[in-house]
């Protein structure tokens, strides 16, 4: 075949290939770029062939990773060239080098349109290809009707029509309105009658995109989903089209009509049973592509249990075959199946094979096997699975160890048949993979041991055993020192467990550990000393000497501990009270499990890396956050022993707590902490070491702040109040966080979790609600109503009445913004669990700033605009007082996170900020908004704000919105307590001033 040979290009490529190193390559590239640049400057002398050659060279250079920042104009201008080769290069290079928002593209719209409506089919193809690759909103608005005409035109060749179909798909993604044309659905149905395979394939892709958004309009297309036999690929008729067709069917709701259903199942049955693993790899791939899509469709159609078990039998066969791709997909689909239906029991039959897959040579397959094991684990097989994971841990590759140990820890906690086993597992985990065990994991084991007296001697004995090992991980030193400090006296009669022996074996480790561990060791010594009654003078002297030594430690924390322990331990009997055993922890949801679930909202497949990132983000706030949730959630029967951790979701109040609860919710203004509450607050601190006076005081203060915030939130109507089920975490905080980001958890309680993922485009928004059932039994009577404010048009898709156990359903919610307003939409959500009816009203984060799109303006654009909007009502100014003081940089970040983009350098005064944005609503369309903030460096609590836009309501609403942001910042990372250190810890802290109180602000908002 004739190749479009370009000698210059080949020479250049072989020059590059001959470069011995990167440096030489860069020199050669720079030389070439310089050459092209000068040639482009005197364009007249360039022949079409040369232009084409240079532009290809640019593209090659671009692929090698060099930025090509010139010649864009040349590339775009080639589009309007009359001859094919130039035009072709123009189109191809434009679509590779430019992105959809590039200004040059606007210049080309007319030319592109002329090519599309022109008679030259080759030009049409080129134009369609470029629009299909980089066409943006403006293209969608001006080209869609022409593209639609091409698709259904009978005079066009299939080559053009198939491109037009996919081009329309791109335009539809950019602006969904392009298919809101009368009769488009019927034409779509006609398109599916098409016999040309290429056109049919493209149309099917278009259909998939359309129905995935709105299936209602396209019912008429449903019966047309069949596949012609003309083209076969390795003997299978158009496998690709078969797959797409079945994918399209999955976007329609489950077919109800019994006849259609029967014939559909017949086809599926034939696919499922008629596919065998053969020798030819490509044939295998093709036939199994169809098969796995059929499986997905079966799952979607909610087939009878019998068919499901057939499917699982098939998957069971797959996970044992030689072909690795099929093994991989077999495991993946089993995991998927677990999520949709209740097939635990059938899948368990394949447990042995799945465990074998954990040793597969392919890490992709091992990962899938781990996911599946994690998903299928329950009380009955937890022991086997977790022990298998532990065993695998020592040989697993590093890339997987973290995920493995996290999953093992979670499973051990969730499904432990008895607690001593749980302790064994975690200690083994620390022993084998200490580096991969986060602090949360060992904190959790300490909590369990503290709350279960039966477990204490066992745990202490185990910890003692591990200390005998020659080299142990630092985390193991921490946990065993902590456990022995608390409970070694319970072992005193056993050999090797006298206080002296315990002390010396722990002390051996001291030279090898880091400062944070030394702090724990010091506490342990103090505790050992306290438990040694009558006092052993020799031991006492030894320990005192150590305290003495650390009194001059460079680390303040350790210095303080040493000083205080030394002073305390000289007081004799008083020591008993202060260093007494830690009280029980209030029952709370495992932070591990919580994090794992948070991640599941975003994606079913959680990778350890993401978990880790999240842990790092929250770990600083861990103590405080836990406290507020300890009060916000129902503390489960605090006095009883918690035997089975998974019971923690049941809500049982001890009478005393009932009392506390009612009291604190009636007298919200001054929550007076009971001694127990104090204990709770101190409790978690103890994990890091026993309470040290200074430190604990501060923490108690901030802890109480948290309590105050939670209580204050409880008076707001839009929260749970009468429900027996208490939410986990602060609803208001979650809402505020979601106002600034687009995905996260909106609400969570022991049974249900509602996650949100949102996309915003102009005045349209699409939110997806992820309703997740956290339990092993279904949720009934699920109802979600949207109460939209008058300025939003909202449409929620059907919410299923029942959510199956451990399943998550997605409910898309379409939002349209009609005009500027700060009113907030509310989701009225209710469900029934056992006999409890739970109802919550939640604010939805479809707030003003979601309809802002950042735009940077230059000084030339800014000032004329600013001047032309001259005073009220279009330009409003206000002096705002009571602003939360923050550095200018932080304020700039806050603005940016609200999509108001700060334009540096526009205002010569460094204390001022200028920001711009575009607001989208139906009434205002896209409207530029400008803001200027003048701060006073002497008094950061006040500032002057000026807001301007072309619409009076918008100006006002935006001004108020910004004010709200500045006056009270959502308390996600809690600012350091502004309360001066209180002399007495027990003194209740008055709730913060109304302007800073999120609850009050909330009430004002509604």
């Amino acid at each position: 075949m004739a190749l479009s040979g370009m000698r210059g290009l080949s020479v250049f490529i072989s020059d590059i290939r001959n470069c011995p190193n990167k440096e030489q390559e860069r020199l050669r590239v720079d030389k070439e770029l310089g050459n092209i640049r000068t040639r482009f400057k005197n364009e007249k002398g360039l022949s079409p062939y040369e232009k084409k050659k240079y532009v290809w060279k640019m593209l090659y250079i671009y692929m090698l990773g060099y930025d090509v920042d010139f010649g864009h104009m040349e590339a775009v201008s080639l589009i309007s060239a009359p001859k094919y080769p130039e035009k072709q290069v123009g189109y191809i290079v434009t679509s590779c080098l430019l992105n959809e928002n590039h200004d040059f593209l606007r210049l080309a719209i007319n030319t592109v349109r002329n090519d599309i409506i022109g008679r030259n089919e080759t030009f049409q193809c080129l134009a369609l290809t470029m629009v299909g690759n980089i066409g943006g909103r403006e293209f969608a608005e001006s080209l869609a009707p022409d593209v639609q005409k091409l698709i259904i035109s009978s005079s066009c060749r299939p080559l053009v029509r198939k491109k037009a179909a996919l081009c329309l798909l791109r335009l539809y993604r950019k602006n969904p309105d392009v298919v809101n044309v009368d009769g488009w659905a019927d034409r779509m149905a006609q398109l599916l009658d098409e016999r040309d395979l290429g056109v049919l394939t493209s149309s099917m892709s278009l259909l998939v995109a359309l129905v995935s958004n709105n299936h209602e309009a396209y019912w008429s297309c449903l019966p047309k989903c069949d596949v012609p036999q003309e083209y076969t690929y390795y003997g299978i008729p158009s496998p690709w089209l078969q797959v797409k067709t079945m994918r399209a069917l999955q976007y329609f709701p489950t077919v109800e009509d019994p006849n259609t259903r029967r014939s559909l199942f017949e086809v599926l049955q034939r696919i499922l049973m008629g596919t065998d693993v053969v020798k030819n790899v490509n044939k295998n791939n093709a036939s199994h592509a169809v098969l796995f899509e059929a499986l997905a469709l079966v799952m979607h159609l909610d087939a009878e249990k019998e068919m499901m078990s057939q499917c699982i039998a098939l998957l069971g066969k797959f996970i044992a075959v030689r072909e690795p791709n099929i093994r991989y997909l077999g495991l993946e689909n089993m995991t998927r199946m677990l999520m949709v239906t209740d097939v635990h029991d059938i899948i368990k039959r394949h447990q042995a094979q799945i465990i074998t897959s954990l040793k597969d040579p392919d890490i992709s397959i091992r990962r899938r096997a781990l996911d599946l094991l994690y998903g299928m684990c329950d009380v009955s097989n937890a022991k086997d699975i977790v022990e298998e994971l532990l065993q695998y841990l020592s040989t697993a590759d590093f890339a997987m160890r973290e995920e493995l140990s996290l999953k093992a820890a979670i499973l051990a906690e969730k499904f432990a048949p008895d607690l001593s086993w749980y302790v064994d597992v975690i200690l083994q985990l620390i022993d084998k993979a200490g580096d991969f065990v986060s602090d949360d994991i060992w904190f959790r084991v300490v909590q369990f041991v503290t709350n279960n007296e039966d477990l204490q001697p066992y745990a202490a004995a185990k910890a003692r055993e591990y200390l005998d090992k020659p080299a142990i991980h630092e985390t193991m030193v921490k946990v065993s020192a902590y456990l022995l400090g608390e409970y070694s006296h319970l072992l005193a009669r056993r050999p090797g467990c006298s206080p002296k022996e315990i002390f010396s074996i722990i002390h051996e480790k001291l030279p090898t550990v880091s400062m944070s561990t030394v702090a724990i060791l010091l506490s342990t010594y103090a505790k050992i000393l306290m438990h040694t009654q009558p006092a052993d003078p020799e031991l006492q002297n030894q320990i005192w000497a150590i305290f003495n030594k650390y009194e001059s430690c460079i680390e303040v924390e350790i210095q303080q501990r040493a000083v205080e322990y030394f002073a305390l331990s000289r007081k004799g009997a008083a020591l008993m009270d202060i260093l007494a055993e830690m009280p029980k922890f209030p029952e709370r949801q495992s932070s591990l499990i919580k994090k794992a679930e948070d991640v599941e909202v975003d994606t079913a497949e959680q990778s350890a890396i993401k978990l880790r990132a999240q842990q790092q983000q929250t770990s600083t706030a861990l103590v405080v956050a836990d406290q507020s949730s300890a009060n916000g959630t129902s503390p489960v029967n605090q006095l009883g022993l918690v035997k089975v951790p998974s019971m923690s979701s049941s809500v049982i109040y001890s009478s005393k707590w009932d009392f506390d609860q009612s009291r604190s919710s009636t007298s919200t203004s001054s929550p007076s902490p009971s001694p127990d509450l104090l204990g709770d607050l101190l409790g978690p601190l103890a994990i890091e070491g026993p309470p040290v006076a200074g430190e604990s005081e501060q923490n108690v203060v901030s802890g109480l702040e948290g309590v105050a915030a939670v209580d204050a939130a409880a008076i707001v109507p839009v929260t749970v109040q009468t429900n027996a089920v208490e939410p986990i975490g602060n609803i208001a905080e979650r809402f505020h966080a979601l106002c600034l980001k687009d995905s996260g958890v909106l609400y969570e309680d022991p049974y249900v979790q509602i996650g949100i993922k949102a996309e915003w485009r102009g005045h349209h928004g699409r939110l997806v609600l992820f309703l997740g059932n956290k339990n092993t039994s279904p949720l009934f009577s699920v109802q979600a109503l949207i109460l939209p404010p008058s300025h939003l048009k909202m449409e929620l898709s059907l919410v299923p009445e029942t959510i199956p156990p451990r399943a998550q359903v997605q409910c898309p919610l379409e939002v349209m913004n009609l005009r500027p307003s700060r009113d907030v939409a509310v989701l009225d959500f209710s469900y029934k669990f056992n006999t409890n009816m739970v109802n919550v009203k939640l604010r939805l984060p479809a707030v003003l700033n979601k309809f802002l799109q950042p735009i940077t303006v230059s000084a030339e654009e800014f000032f004329p605009q600013w001047r032309s909007l001259s005073g009220p009502p279009l330009k409003l100014q206000e002096v705002v007082r009571g602003v939360r003081p923050m550095p200018l940089l932080e304020m700039a970040n806050l603005f940016n996170s609200c999509h108001l983009i700060v334009c540096p350098g526009l205002d010569p005064n460094p204390n001022n900020l200028v920001a711009s944005t575009t607001f989208y609503s139906e009434s205002t369309r896209a409207m530029l908004c400008l803001t200027r903030i003048e701060t006073d460096p002497a008094d950061r609590t006040q500032l002057r704000m000026t807001v301007a836009s072309g619409d009076p309501t918008l100006t006002f609403e935006l001004k108020e919105f910004i004010k709200e942001q500045l006056v009270s910042i959502p308390i996600a990372p809690r600012p350091p307590a502004p309360v001066p250190p209180t002399p007495s810890v027990a003194q209740p802290v008055p709730p913060a001033a109304p302007s800073n109180d999120p609850g009050a602000m909330l009430a004002g908002l509604l």
Binding site: D67, Y231, D362
Partner: protein, 166 residues
């Protein structure tokens, strides 16, 4: 939707990189490097799937095929079927094979522009356009003809005008 198509050799040198959602050039290189980092450690008899969440964000999948000195890599989201994507790589490679008669790395290096033309006839804006390599070759041949025809015309007209002025 297909997010990206990459062809790179077993040393990690990119031979073709096409991104269907725009990525700045540094990001492109970073992605190519991380993909290569994962692929080069994989043995031959393992599956064609690789977890790509950490490289491309949650929900993305990566399918690759290894031929002689080249990796062909497709990256796509959950709306596509993995094995179907593998088939598509096969279609792409078979088409190249037919165009270049036993394709090898050098063909691909020196016929960079041709490669783009072929790919554009198979994938369009991240969607599958054509799955039959016969159809693809037909379209590509048509384009080649056009290219050489208009070059010839350019030559002819030049010489004619030269003749006239003489």
């Amino acid at each position: 939707m297909i997010k990206s198509v990459m062809v790179m050799n077993t040393q990690g040198k990119p031979r073709l990189a096409k991104f269907y959602d725009f990525q700045p050039v540094e990001k492109q290189q970073e992605l190519i490097r991380s993909v290569f980092g994962v692929l080069c450690g994989r043995a031959d008899n393992v599956s064609n799937f690789v977890e790509a969440d950490s490289i491309f964000g949650p929900g993305t999948r990566l399918v690759y095929k290894h031929f002689a000195t080249l990796y062909f890599v497709f990256i796509f989201d959950s709306s596509e079927n993995e094995l179907a994507m593998l088939d598509l790589i096969q279609v792409f490679v078979e088409t190249l094979d037919k165009c270049f008669k036993n394709v090898c790395e050098l063909d691909i290096v020196y016929n960079y522009s041709k490669l783009h033309t072929i790919l554009d006839e198979i994938i369009f804006g991240g969607q599958v356009l054509e799955t039959s390599s016969i159809e693809v070759i037909k379209a590509v041949e048509e384009i080649s003809k056009l290219e050489s025809a208009s070059n010839a015309i350019a030559l002819v007209s030049k010489s004619v005008s030269g003749w006239r002025s003489r």
